[in-house]
């Protein structure tokens, strides 16, 4: 008799249980993230960046090596790029057990010195599924990034809005004019329609890997719970990060989408389990282990995820950067943001957020392509280190500049000018010496 009184509540009870069951069934605690083995490096997704006269490493099982069409000496997995190599992309051909395999665009010979370079962190691009002005705006941001001339770019996730196929296609177009390597990791948005990150891997490669630039180590890591905004590290991932971050280097960076340690919790501020001894973390499993590793390695951690939030936070021996987004947000109405880092003699000397609408770089070439005037309008409120790339007629080599310093030129007429753009408007002219 009493059970009959519960009849009105049967549909609502079943409904709520079904919803919770669907959420449970579609939850993927640890997506199938790809970790590269030593023999997989370098490849088109994780290219080696190397300056002429410098070295890159490959697996010791490789018998012969060709960079482009030139065979190079392999000294137990260490390859030296000759001084006369032009800057740009090269295919890498490896002979293993007598069989040759070619990896396209796997070596980038950089014009920039490992002793003084910049790199850029972009994050939360949120490429939409329709084209038009929204995609064009993102393309303009990457064009500006390209004009600033970093040695490489890292994208710390959420490059698409929901990980849809057409969003990856647009993202491919957005990044298509970058001259330098781009290293990516997935964010939680990529898991929304692709919980195991299979589509991500097809378009952008592995999620866990490392690369060096000179003596600086960069480790890219995924710790996502599809489709949640929170992250976590399982035992395998912790071990992989520990092993990788403990490699020898003068400076160590971890690229990670979700903030591991932050001064504030943004709109997650009132979630009690996010608060740890005076700071906030959106990491659940493995939090203590990862913080211990980062502290031990004195690592710099580059994260995104919180869009409008810009912060640098020192916790014990580790430094945590939260970089605002390329996509606009309610609290970032003015325009896209990204962070520019400069490393000089293995010391981090510059870490500013660039407001894309406050920095303009315009190239004005003469009609015969023998001179260029570069007009820079810098309203950021601080100087901006630039490595400007111009392409002039090779017939008029050599060239000189009225400001900055030509750090590299090639016989093809490619010239790189190092210039610290002061606040306000400045002009650089690159002209033939004669």
């Amino acid at each position: 008799m009493k059970l009959i009184r519960l009849k009105p509540y049967i549909p609502s009870t079943i409904f709520i249980f079904v919803l919770i069951a669907v959420m449970g069934m579609t939850y993927v605690p640890y997506p199938n993230i790809i970790r590269l083995s030593e023999s997989d490096y370098p490849n088109e997704y994780v290219p080696s960046i190397v300056a002429p006269g410098e070295y890159f490493k490959i697996s010791t099982s490789v018998e012969k090596v060709w960079v482009g069409f030139q065979e190079l000496k392999n000294e137990q997995g260490t390859i030296k790029i000759p001084e006369d190599f032009s800057s740009g992309w090269y295919n890498l051909t490896l002979q293993i057990n007598g069989i040759n395999t070619t990896r396209n665009n796997s070596i980038y010979v950089t014009p920039i010195s490992v002793d003084d370079f910049t790199f850029i962190q972009v994050t939360d691009v949120h490429t939409p599924c329709y084209g038009g002005a929204d995609v064009q705006e993102r393309k303009n941001v990457f064009n500006l990034v390209n004009d600033i001339g970093p040695a490489f770019v890292v994208d710390t996730g959420d490059m698409t809005d929901y990980g849809l196929e057409k969003q990856y296609v647009y993202y491919g177009w957005i990044i298509s004019d970058l001259e330098m390597p781009l290293y990516t990791i997935p964010g939680n948005m990529e898991t929304y329609s692709d919980p195991n990150l299979e589509r991500y891997a097809r378009h952008l490669g592995p999620g866990n890997y490392y690369f060096y630039f000179g003596r600086i180590l960069f480790v890219a890591s995924v710790a996502l719970h599809s489709p949640r905004s929170w992250g976590g590290f399982d035992g395998t991932q912790i071990k992989w990060i520990n092993d990788t971050l403990s490699k020898e280097a003068d400076l160590k960076f971890l690229l990670h989408h979700i903030p591991i340690v932050a001064e504030q919790g943004r709109d997650y501020n009132y979630v009690p389990w996010g608060w740890k001894e005076g700071h906030f973390s959106q990491i659940e499993e493995g939090y203590e282990e990862i913080v211990k590793i980062l502290t031990k390695e004195k690592a710099y951690v580059l994260s995104g995820h919180w869009h409008g939030y810009s912060n640098k936070f020192q916790y014990e021996a580790a430094t945590f950067y939260n970089t605002p987004s390329v996509t606009r947000m309610s609290e970032v109405k003015e325009g896209p943001r990204f962070r520019l880092f400069q490393i000089q003699n293995n010391t981090l000397t510059y870490d500013k957020v660039i407001k894309s609408e406050k920095l303009h770089i315009t190239h004005q070439y003469t009609t015969n392509n023998t001179q260029v005037k570069i007009i820079i309008r810098n309203e950021e409120g601080f100087y901006v280190p630039l490595y400007l790339h111009v392409k002039l007629s090779p017939l008029k080599l050599p060239y000189s500049t009225n400001q900055g310093e030509i750090i590299k030129y090639s016989s093809s007429g490619d010239i790189w000018v190092k210039y610290n753009a002061p606040i306000g408007e400045s002009e650089i002219e690159v002209v033939p010496i004669i």
Partner: protein, 194 residues
């Protein structure tokens, strides 16, 4: 009064519906209608908001819309019972469910208009979520939200007066307590878990 009339609390005096619910409570049937409609709304909203159908988000958003009325309704009901009010539990829950359902339907109609505009006619075309969150186009929906909130408050008071026979100050205090507890629980689920 026909059964389907009780779904029209938005268009006539809601007290008529609530009197009918006191006489003939039928939360079993009403909840079925609400949940089926809720799933349809959520599925359509997913398409318009994200241009993609993702089962976990259909489930999560359906759960959210259930929680935001079900939790405060149950909490307020328990408090009313604790302070000694005698009323029919089924009628109380059904009346609250119908109140919020009518307002959610109104909101869904406005969201649908916005989704059609945003995905098809706007220049540039944007998914509705993208337009609202990244380009601040949520003001018209916020106005509908405020109107909806006023309508819900009005109905909460009527339900308290007609079904529970509580005093106005009791209704206000108990619903503030119930709403705050529920909002925090919903926040913990949707910010702390999702």
């Amino acid at each position: 009064m026909s059964y389907k009339k009780r779904f029209e609390t938005l268009f006539h005096r809601p007290s008529e519906s609530f009197q009918e619910i006191i006489k003939y409570p039928c939360f079993f049937k009403t909840s079925l209608v609400i949940f089926i409609c809720g799933l349809v709304y959520t599925t359509i909203a997913e398409l318009g908001l994200f241009n993609s159908l993702m089962p976990h988000f259909i489930a999560a958003y359906s759960l959210m819309f259930t929680i935001i009325w079900f939790l405060p309704t149950v909490i307020s009901m328990i408090i009313f019972k604790i302070i000694g009010k005698k009323f029919n539990t089924e009628s109380y829950i059904e009346a609250n469910a119908l109140s919020i359902f009518s307002v959610i339907t109104l909101g869904f109609i406005f969201l649908s208009i916005f989704m059609i505009y945003s995905n098809i006619f706007a220049d540039p075309k944007r998914t509705a979520y993208f337009a609202m969150v990244y380009y601040n186009q949520w003001y018209p929906l916020a106005i509908v939200g405020v109107i909806g909130a006023i309508l819900i408050l009005h109905r909460i008071i009527i339900i308290g007066r007609i079904i529970v026979k509580a005093k106005l100050y009791q209704i206000i205090i108990i619903w503030i307590v119930a709403a705050l507890i529920s909002m925090y629980i919903a926040y913990l689920i949707f910010r702390g878990w999702l």
